[in-house]
Structures are given as structure tokens and as C-alpha cells.
Symmetry: D2
Subunit: 328 residues, 4 copies
């Protein structure tokens, strides 16, 4: 039973490149061509960088060339500000590598997602906490110089609230605000419960619709917006199909001593498992999300961490000693 | 494999009396003593009334004596206000039966749950939409007479936001406001995905902690509050253990032609299935909720329906022709 | 003491064309050239239409050619939904005259102002209550046909929240959404307390910065957006300088029997009165707003009226019998 | 023209004891019996302590015996976090003097006012930012010991939202939560524009209705709640009658060289000035508030300062080095 095929049939998209890569390598038992993985272990934080280097890698992983940095830190989920500080510093360091700021670079921060739906509200929550400075340059350009960069920030809402595609709103904005960087923040769907509220992904490839390769025109990326687009995300949900699938896997795991079951597992055509999953998730299927009750706390904590790391990496006048002061 | 035992082990509580009753009857293949069920079919709406008549029924169903009315209407979920009107009228009729209003009866409406967490925000959303009238009786008692009853409404928040048990807040309020009825609105957890956003439960037994029998001192009920307590709820989530369990059931359903599997299913001790479910839901287990992406829309619609039905059944001066006007 | 000159010095701008016109006519004792006024009395509602017909009128009134319709109805302020219905129907009728809809016309509704500041939140509140339909045309175009027009709606926030000029956001949006009409909703500043929460102004000239004539490039109007722009506003505040000025006027009114005071009033140079007003309003001056404590109720009521009238005039499938149903 | 009599007639109540005291001393040209005033100047912060020592002082100042500490610091209004730190430390020091904490003291923080109305939202904004700890003592009492005290916090809303008097809600809560201290936060009305957003008043006398002496039963104070009640407030508005009155004063100030005007000012009976003010503020009168456009920023800043100072003075484990970390 190939997980990758089941997931495709159930419309389960893995937002984290690191998960898509693990899945592929696992099923194949070999390195994926055109993809380089690098791991860095820092005390309680693991940073994994996936670099897609060519078209082969793009096709295999279903996402464009570029860097996908995953910060894994169980501390994100806990209410310990001391540990958050370490995460903020690591994240800020990696963000700084993705940016090539000039003194007068300007940044537009976009909070994707629906502010009325808790697990989807990460983007708008970060935007609320970010310090906006662009308009201050009209009034006191001298005071700002060398200390702050121009930051604007907006949460464009979702199609159901506004009747307008988010990408349309952002494109219109970018043409007028003309930022050097767009930073798009979005809640992600993970492939494993463990990742909810414990992982941050940074990518210099923008946000691209799940369908992937060859269809970049609908995304928020350099091709469509004309400027560099950094994407930041935290998993807040897992597609319910992942739970259904994992239940089957665990069942066969428990039963592996039964030879007849091992046989079923190996021989069974995918359709049977697809039927099982579809029935278990009926009548909702695609739109069913699994999320812990405490997701509002997780989003509150991760949005503080992201906003802090952004303030810290964007503005020369903000340091590890004073970044908390600039949280709105 | 007994679903009732698995659910108990996984801390899955069925908030709907009708589901608890179905489960029990199904496993037992017989009527449950001390419980009467009555069904009424109205076009696209089914109203099921479970009446627990004695201690035996209380023990079996794990909830106190009284009436549990379930309104099943797929229309609640849809965006068709014409169909909503029918649901509102049916609900209002049944609410009126639960109340024995006098002309000067006063009602305190309590929105339970966390307004910051979408699937839990049903109660606060209803409170926002309810017309509050109690204070108007100070100023224009004559104008209100015969048309309106005294309604006050509050959303006390949750323990994590205030540091105070909801029951403490409500008890304090009731001692001072001295209402004749408390109506408590809460989001529920169902045992089946089909029920999310399509079912409304009314009960004249108040809200009682899942543990059930013999421990009513912590609930919101006549014993603790000293006045009649009506509970109104709509399922907005399903415990993720329900999905895991249903996946296993569907797998064995698909495989029933394999005799060896039927044997496993029937002989297997509960522990194996418990292990499977626990691993599939690790590391969250209890707190994992499954909810459709569109839960904010579902809550918006059901809170309009509940607030409308409450306005309609409480106030003599509000009729089926004008109730929309009084939605806040 | 010329009110118009004092107001100019104190940066008091009269958002209502009808007030600017009254002031001018009053000081001049004659009709204003290039301006036509028409009054219609309907029971408790007065509708005044100011039409600026040429450049002379533009210059005199400090605003562009077009129609400014003022609906005066004390009932807007009261909590009587029966009376609101009449206002909604009158407003809807006048809106329909300003629009020349085709079957497939599309409309972008823009809620100007700051949703965090009560007296400024009128626009965002209307946007919350408006039914958005544009995205439904992707999915069920046949069902919508002939019943609904395409409506999108957004509240772009204010400069201090986003760092971006509202006009920049709107221009970007319009280029992508390409609506036939933009409807911009904004809270207004009146010249008289009586108008707070009792007046609605409709204009087919868009929103133009106070500076007025010759500088339309910064406004939201046909010149800058390339489509017709309807502006809708309700006064929610009065500049504090209006109170200071009215106090002086009332004082001299009470004292008119004292010849020495009449002399002072007539001879006194403007500077003395300006000094008095400036000192009375120090240290805030320009930014000081006067608003009744109940402004949140007033905004709630007027935003319901505006959203209802918009739904009613835009969609063929919505009538006076069912518009309440479509309020979000 | 006696300001105190005019204010009484116009229902202008001065929430700040320091303003009421200044007014009285000014008109009388002498110390007020039963009232002691003490001033402390610290760089850019002035702390004035008014102590009412006996019934004579109570009657004169129209408020109960106790301490009223006013912190005047223009920096509160500005967006400079460095200066805020100084204010937070001064405020925290004075709060600590008002409290006599034991290790296990518990505190209930009450955010008075309407969260839907900007200038009234100070209390709810502080409550949002306060760290709530009371419920943590159930789970990890050992971890909390010696570092944290038990804090619960609630915003009970206003009469128009809930239909319940705030005092009823609070009394009910206090009977169940049984705190050692209630801290009530409320937005205040000042007698001078300069004080908006620049002054914090602390009082150990609770919150008492404007009517004052002899009617403490309706307030939130030790008599009604049975525990010590600390009140904290920041002026966010000025009654519009204050502006009208100041305009008249400034006019006579400008005109003092005209002997006839000095005569009018001195001889004129109060009724003329009352008529002027009433007409200038018609049709609203009492409920008209003057507030700067930027009041939402002022409330945001002062609520951060208050929440920080509370965290700092309540919890032994929070110090000047880390209080920002505990802001929610």
C-alpha cells in the first residue's frame, strides 16, 4: 500500500517539504535526485534544509526550486518564554540568510487565512503582532534611518469573506506598494500529529498551489509578483485522512505476526484501502481537519515567535535584548 | 469489539443522548430499561425525544432523568434561509414545551465555550445575536409588558481565559440575577461526522459533566443553580478516536468475505484495538478534534437558528413573521 | 465672525455637502451659482439632493460635480425596526437611481475606516453585514443568474494598521477585480450634533480628500479608479471646534440685548475667536472628536440599514419582504 | 461663575480626585479640611497622593476615605517603550504599597467598560493582556509556589450587552472566587484634555458611583464585596461640557481688558452660562464625550503599561527584567 498514492487520491497535500521528501525517500529506499538535505542539531532544536536544485527535483517533490528550511522545536508548543527565545534566535538567523537586505529594502507581510477560523488564523495573528513602519517614513525619515526598514502588513481575508481571490488582492497591492520582499504567513497541514505546533517552515519559493509544477501562475511567487517571496508556515492541522491511514498502518503493525494479514497488506489493491478511508471520512472527506483543542494557544505562541523573529531579522535597530518590546 | 468499551477507554463521550441510546440498544439488541424513545417525522426534519424515566435509565445512559430532544435537519448546514425558517419553528415549538413561562418569567442565557476557538464558539455566538431586554424593564416597564420577557445573557469564557471555573461564574450570577430559567448553549462532540452542523439537542436536565450519575454537584442544573436549566447544543466536532474506530470498522466491513479476518475481529481482545487507536492519535489522544474546514460557517448558521428560535419562544411579542428583525 | 473662515482655520471640514451649502448660502444670503438644491418631504424622512452642475459650483462647495443626496431621518438613531424599514426603502430607491446596473454588473464594496476605533468603524461594520456573492458565480453561475449580482467586499484598514494608504490598496484591488461600481462606506464628521446617527449621505462622486478641487488624483473616484464610485456615509462625530464655536455663538445669542457685546461680536477680528478656540482645544486641536457615548449602538443600527439597502438595491432577487434574511 | 456649580448642573463628574481637589482649593483659596496632598517629582513623572482622612474630607471631595494616587507622565501617550518602562516601575512601586500581600493572596482583576466602544475599552484591554494563573494552581501548585500569586480576570461587559448590572456580576463572582483583592480597571473622564492618555489614578477605595457619599452600597468596595478593592483608571475622554465651559473661560480671558466684559463675567448669574452650554451641547448633553482620534493607540499603550505594572507588583517571580515576557 503506497502512502503517496493513497494521499494523492484522498487529496492529502503535505505542506512541509521535509515530509514530502521523507515519504518519497522512504518508499523508494534511495536519495531523491535533484534534492539535497542538510540537518543541523542544536540542543533541542533541529533545523533541516531541503534544497531543490533542478527540474528533476521539482517534479519529484512537486514544488519549485529553492530552499525549504524546517525548524523542529517541541518548545514552540510549550508556554516557556525562555525556550521561545532560542527558537526566535534560530529562526531569525535563518530568515536573515534568505533575505539580502539593502538599507532601504521594503517588506510587505501578508497574513493568509481566515481570521474567523481558529486553525487558519495564524497569518492574521502574526500581522496583528507585527510592527508596521512604512508610513512612519513619510513623517520622520531621519529618525527611522539605519534603525528600521519599511514594513507594511495586511490580512486580505479569504474568498468566502470577501468574494475576491487572495492572490488578486496581493497582486494589486504589490503593484502599488512595490516592496522588495513579500513575506506570506500561512497555517499548514502536516502529515503527522507530532508536528502540530512544533514546526516552522521557511521557504524562499513563495506560496504555490498544491497542484505544483508547471502552474506557478496562480501562486504568490517571484513569477507572479515580481519580487522575492518568502513563505512562513506552522502546521496547525492534519488532514483527517492521515488519521484514517495511520489507524490502518498501526493495525497491520500490531498484527504483523499474523501471516494472513501481512499477505492482505502487501497484496491488497489500493482501492480497498481507499474505500475504507472514504467511508470513514464520509460525508466530509477533503475538508475534514484534525486539530487539538488547545490550537488557539498553539497559534498564539507560534504567532508571537514568528512576529518576534521577523522584527529581529528585518530591523537593524532591534536586537535579542529588546525584541519583545516591539511586539504589538 | 464493543464500541462502548473502546469509547470509554479513549475518553470519547457522546454528548447526544440519542447517540448514547442507539449505541446501547445496538450492542444489546434490546430496549433500554427506564428509557422511552419517541420519533416524529416532519418532511425533512426528524425530531427524536429520549425520555429517561428512572434511576435505571439514568445509570444506563449515564445522564440524569429528563427529556432530550434531538432535531435532525440537514438544512441547518445549508445556506438556505427558507429552510432555516422551518427548523426555527420546530425548535421554537419544542422549546415552548420545555418552558412553563409565566408573564413575568426571567431568563438568563449563558454562552458556554471559548470565543477564541472556532469550534467551541457556538455559545458566545448565540449570546452575541440574542436580544437582551432585562435592563429595559428598569426604564420602560409598561412598554415591555405582555410583549417581552426579561432576558439577560453572558458568555463567561473558559477556565484558561479567566482562571475561574465557568460553573463558579454562573452560580454567582444566578444568585444575584435570580432568573426563573437558565438556558445554557454549548458546542457538542458527536459520535458521527454526519451530525456536525445538522443536529440540535435540547434538554431540560442542564449541563452535567461527562462522568455522569451521582455527581451532579459540579454541573449546571436545578440542583446546583436552584432554577430550571435548559441545555441547547449543536455538534461541531467529532473526537478523533471516532475516526480511528470507524476506519477499523470499515476495514473489517470491506474484508468480511475473508473468514480469517472475521475471526480476528470477533476474537481479538479490546487491548489490540485500543493500542492501534492510541498510537494513531499519539501524541494528543484525548484533545484531538475532527472538524470540517467550513465549521465557522456552520456555527454562524446554527447560532442564527438558535438565537431566532429562542427569541421566538421566549417573547410573546415576537412571531414567525418578524423574528429576523430581532436578531442582533 | 465668518464661520466658514474659522472652520477653515481650525481644519473643520464639513463632510456633508448639504451643510457646506447651507453655510455658504447663509453667509451670503443668496443662492450659490452652479448648485441646485431639491428637497423631498416624506412623512418623517427628508431627502435633500444637492447637484453641483459646473466648475463654479465645484469651486464654491469645494467638491466635484455630481449628486449629493442626504437622507435625514431621526428614526435611524432609534431602536425601532419598523421605522428602519422605511429608511431602508427610501435609501434603496435613491441608490437605484445612482446605479445604472446591467444584468452582469459587478460591485466592489469598500469599508473605509478603522475597525478598532468605534466612531470610525462604520465601513468595516457594513462590510461584515453585506452578503458577498462574487465567488459563488464560479461554482453555481446558473443558480445566481437573474437573482444576484456579483458583490465583493473588503475593509482595507487604515494607514496606521497596515502602513499602506487606503487608496493604494483600493486601486490595486480595482485593477484586478475590475468592478463596474465601487461603493465606499465611511464614517463622516458633521457640523451639527443633531446629525450624528440621523443622516445618510449618498454621492456619485466618490471620496475626495478635504482639500477638494483640482486634486482628485488622491481620491477614490472615476478618475483614479476608472469606474463609477458611489460614496455612502453617516456622521458619527463632530469636530470639537464645532462645539467651541457653537458655545461662542450661543453666548452672543444670549447676550444680544447687551449693545457692547453685539459690537464686539461684529467688530472683533477673527484672530481673537481663533485664539479662544485653539486654547479651549489645546493640546489636541485637530484630532479632537465629539461623539455620544452610545455611538456603538448608532453605528450598529446605521450599518444594518446601509447593508440592507445595498442588498435590496443591488440584487433583483431581494425584495422588501426578505432583505433581513440576507443580512450577515 | 463657579465651575463646581456649573459642572454639577451639567452632570460633569471629575473621576480624578486630584482634579476635584484642585477645583475646590482653587475656588476656595484655601486647603480642604480632611484632605492631605503630597507631591513627588521624579524626572518626567509626577506622583500626587490625595489622602482623605475623615468624614469632612469625604463630604468635601464627594468620595470615600482612602488614598488616591495620580501618576502624571506625558510619556504614557508616546510610543517610546523605554519611557514606558519608567512609568511601569513607578506604578508598580505604588501598587505594591496599596497591597499587603501574603504568599498565598489571590487577586481578581475586573475589566470594567464596554469592549465594543473604543474609549470605554480600557478595562477589557487590560484583562486581555493580563496573565491568568489561578487555574494553574490546580495542576502544578508546587511549580507556582513562591513565584506566582493566584490571578483570575474577567470583563463582565456592560448593562446594554448583558442586561445585568456589572456590580451584580462582580458580587456573584467574588462570593465564589473569594479573592483577597479585587482590582477594577476602568476608563475615566477627566476635567482637562491634557490628562487624556497621560495620567493613571490608583485608589484603595474601590469604584463608587459619582453621587458619592453615603451611598456606597452600589459601588465595588470593601463594604459591598467584603475584600479590599483597588481601582485603576486612565482618562480617555473629557465631557463635552468641559470644552464648552473652557471656551467661555478662554473668551473672557482674551477679553479681560474690556471692563464691560469683566463685569458681565463677574455679575452674570449662572443660569445664562448654563443655558449657553446646554444649547451648545443639544440634543445630547450628558452623554457627549470628547476624545482624540488616536484614542485607540492611547488605550493600547496604557493597557500595556497597566498590565505590565500589575504583573510586576503581583508576582514575586516577575521582575523589571522580564515583565514584557508575561504580557499576553
Amino acid at each position: 500500500m503506497k502512502k503517496s498514492i493513497l494521499y494523492k487520491n484522498m487529496n492529502v497535500y503535505l505542506d512541509l517539504a521535509v515530509e514530502a521528501h521523507d515519504l518519497l525517500r522512504g518508499e523508494r529506499g534511495a536519495e531523491v535526485s535533484g534534492v539535497i538535505m542538510d540537518k543541523e542539531q542544536l540542543e533541542d532544536i533541529v533545523v533541516t534544509t531541503i534544497t531543490i536544485t533542478n527540474q528533476q527535483g521539482e517534479k519529484e517533490l512537486g514544488r519549485p526550486k529553492g530552499h525549504y528550511i524546517t525548524i523542529d522545536a517541541p518548545a514552540i508548543k510549550d508556554n516557556d518564554f525562555h525556550d521561545h527565545k532560542k527558537v526566535i534566535e534560530v529562526m531569525s538567523k535563518h530568515l536573515s540568510k534568505l533575505f539580502q537586505f539593502k538599507e532601504d529594502s521594503s517588506i510587505l507581510i501578508v497574513g493568509l487565512g481566515n481570521w474567523q477560523a481558529t486553525p487558519d488564523a495564524l497569518g492574521p495573528k502574526v500581522v496583528e503582532k507585527i510592527m508596521v513602519t512604512r508610513h512612519l517614513f513619510y513623517y520622520t525619515p531621519e529618525e527611522m534611518k539605519g534603525k528600521m526598514r519599511k514594513v507594511s502588513a495586511i490580512s486580505p481575508g479569504v474568498l468566502g469573506l470577501t468574494g475576491i481571490e487572495t492572490a488578486e488582492v496581493i497582486r494589486g497591492l504589490v503593484e502599488h506598494v512595490k516592496p522588495d520582499y513579500v513575506i506570506a504567513i500561512d497555517a499548514l497541514a502536516a502529515g503527522a500529529l507530532e508536528r502540530i505546533g512544533t514546526t516552522i517552515q521557511l521557504a524562499d519559493t513563495g506560496i504555490n498551489p498544491g497542484s505544483g509544477i508547471g502552474n506557478y501562475r496562480k501562486g504568490l511567487n517571484q513569477e507572479t509578483l515580481g519580487c522575492k517571496v518568502i513563505a512562513i508556515g506552522v502546521p496547525t492541522v492534519v488532514n483527517a485522512a492521515v488519521i484514517a491511514h495511520k489507524t490502518i498502518e498501526e493495525f497491520f503493525g500490531q498484527m504483523e505476526s499474523e501471516p494472513v494479514l501481512a499477505k492482505i497488506y502487501n497484496e491488497e489493491n489500493q482501492q480497498v484501502f481507499l474505500n475504507v478511508m472514504n467511508k470513514a471520512l464520509s460525508p466530509f472527506k477533503d475538508s475534514l481537519m484534525v486539530t487539538p483543542k488547545e490550537v488557539d494557544d498553539l497559534i498564539d505562541r507560534s504567532s508571537r515567535i514568528i512576529a518576534s523573529a521577523l522584527n529581529l531579522s528585518i530591523h537593524p535597530g532591534i536586537s535579542a535584548d529588546n525584541y519583545e518590546t516591539y511586539l504589538q
